[in-house]
């Protein structure tokens, strides 16, 4: 029994090293890389790690290539998926500020993402910028959109159309965001 525990303990350690420390430009590790290092039972190793991380308010997140959550993924889908560590709970606005995001920047990101989601995942940059100009100073709008693109939240094509990029898929619960925005009471204009 203890031998088995030791077997998984060492694999969980390896998985922690791989997932926490940045190896590529994008954070996280592909499933096939984990399989190569940890063996074919890597989903079980990740499950153990995820249970352990619960207490630390972190989680192992799986981002599938298909852009949507897959209920019962096959080994092939897992191999192609990206695994990364994300926060499990919520940050307070003060904490968000401490990790380098100003309230303005976060509000802008939230507005851009929700607007693109409502437009079926694609919206002209100009429309997004017009909407952002409502809440952000004009000189900051373009810079902020560039920053969201640089960080991997948005992607822009040669026709200046904006799309959601990998980081939004990994970090943002798009359905919850839209539901919360639509469910919120607007401040009556004075």
């Amino acid at each position: 029994m203890s031998k088995r525990k030791g077997y998984y303990a060492s694999k969980v350690k390896r998985a922690t090293h791989m997932l926490f420390f940045k190896r590529h430009t994008k954070p996280g590790v592909k499933g096939w890389e984990l399989r190569k290092t940890l063996g074919s039972d890597y989903p079980k190793v990740l499950k153990i790690l995820d249970d352990y991380l619960k207490g630390l308010d972190l989680q192992v997140k799986t981002v599938f290539e298909e852009e949507r959550h897959v209920e019962n993924p096959s080994l092939e889908q897992l191999d192609k998926a990206r695994f990364l560590i994300t926060l499990r709970g919520e940050l307070t606005p003060k904490e968000a500020k401490m990790i380098g995001w100003r309230i303005d920047d976060l509000a802008g990101l939230s507005i851009a993402i929700s607007y693109i989601v409502s437009k079926k995942g694609q919206a002209p940059r100009k429309e997004v910028e017009d909407l952002l100009r409502d809440k952000l100073p004009g000189w900051k709008v373009g810079l902020n959109v560039d920053r969201y693109v640089r960080h991997g939240y948005l992607m822009q094509d040669e026709n200046e159309q904006l799309y959601l990029d990998w980081r939004t898929r990994a970090e943002v619960d798009q359905k919850a965001l839209i539901d919360l925005l639509l469910g919120t009471e607007a401040k009556p204009s004075s």
């Binding site: 926490f20 940045k22 990364l84 976060l106 437009k119 409502d134 159309q161 970090e171 839209i178 639509l182």
Partner: protein
Amino acid sequence: MQSAKEREKLGRERLQRIMETCRSVEQRSLDPFVINVTENLNNLREFLQDWKLPDDLALDAETVNCLASVVRLQSEWVKHRSTTLYADPFLLEEKLRTISKEKVVRIFLRAWDPAVELEQISLHSIAEAIRYWQSLLPFNERWQQTSPGEVRAGSATREELLRDRILRDIAFSEELENFWQTLKETVADKGHEGKIRYWDFVGAETYEETVERAFMTSFLVTYGYATLEVRPLEEEIFIKPNGKPVPLAGKKQLVSIPIAVSVEDWTKWKRGELQ
């Protein structure tokens, strides 16, 4: 009574208008149902009998293609509306304008799980850095002033410039086209299913030649003359010539694929140990 020429002109204009509307719906992600596909198809049918020239028939086919894209968009639109993610863009836009910045942030933080990423230095990179530091010459030696010798201006012939590799014998684009032909011939001879293993194509008798072929291959891929097929699980790379150069600037994000062409790999390939 309209003359045949006038009718043809009118038909062409109408087709152009239909295509423009379809394209603007596609590009600006407008509601695809603003286009009445049936009515437009009837318009096309009305003019079809007038088309005699291949250009007009091509224009007709292109218009049908644009309308088909609109039908695809309509289908996607219905699918999206039936998903749980659907939110009326106008309603949402209105909400976004009326909610305060602080409230937007509070909502976003409830749906946002930022990724944890740590930058680190590994033992390996420290060892590399020490090796680099030890081999680095002192600053004053590196920046030593060398007095330039007296240079006399003279003339050189084209042959001399070619010999010294200052000029190239043929233009680079021409060289690239020739290399593309070589790839197509090699694939036809030794390839399988229209592609060939990367090393089987770039590998040559000498290491210098191999590097040169790898260099040219990278340009073939960059300029759309060929496609790289990377199979990460099998650790195999194939190169596939395109029938004609394909421009790569599209919606797809371009990626760089670094492929090491080291002496060790070349030696392994020569021994038949590397595929």
